[in-house]
Symmetry: C2
Subunit: 84 residues, 2 copies
């Protein structure tokens, strides 16, 4: 893997994994104040489109990164819907 691809994978890892501390925080504190529900609705709709795009262009990295981000972002939206 060349160094440019390494930067791409590092970028994908950081943006994907960044949702883990947010998911952990809302699950442990059950506090969703300040979080925009609309952001997560739009963001997850976008992730679904990215996932479809990744499958269509047969790019495993795009598909996998967006699938994982969806998994991490889902509990944030679910908690936001339950706690308001």
């Amino acid at each position: 893997m060349d160094w440019i691809s390494t930067i791409g994978y590092l970028a994908a890892s950081l943006t994907t994994l960044s949702f883990l501390p947010q998911a952990f925080k809302v699950i442990t504190t059950r506090n969703t104040q300040g979080i925009s529900g609309l952001m997560y609705v739009m963001f997850m709709a976008g992730l679904v489109m990215w996932l479809i795009y990744g499958v269509l262009i047969e790019d495993a990295a795009v598909s996998m990164a967006n699938f994982l981000t969806l998994v991490f972002a889902l509990p944030i939206l679910v908690m936001k819907c339950r706690k308001g």
Copy 2:
């Protein structure tokens, strides 16, 4: 533009624009409770890497989408740092 590219652009637009309602919310309410500062540190570091990657592979869509997301996410992190 073929329909697969259209899905990609729609995906990019949704994930990028999703940070606008969150930025608007923290700016107007000045309430950052529930928001993970670590998420935004990791996310923005990832966006910078994506931006560098986009420039290196000379992909205007990747560069532009990540630059705009950086602009929208910045006030969220700034407000989180100020309000805690």
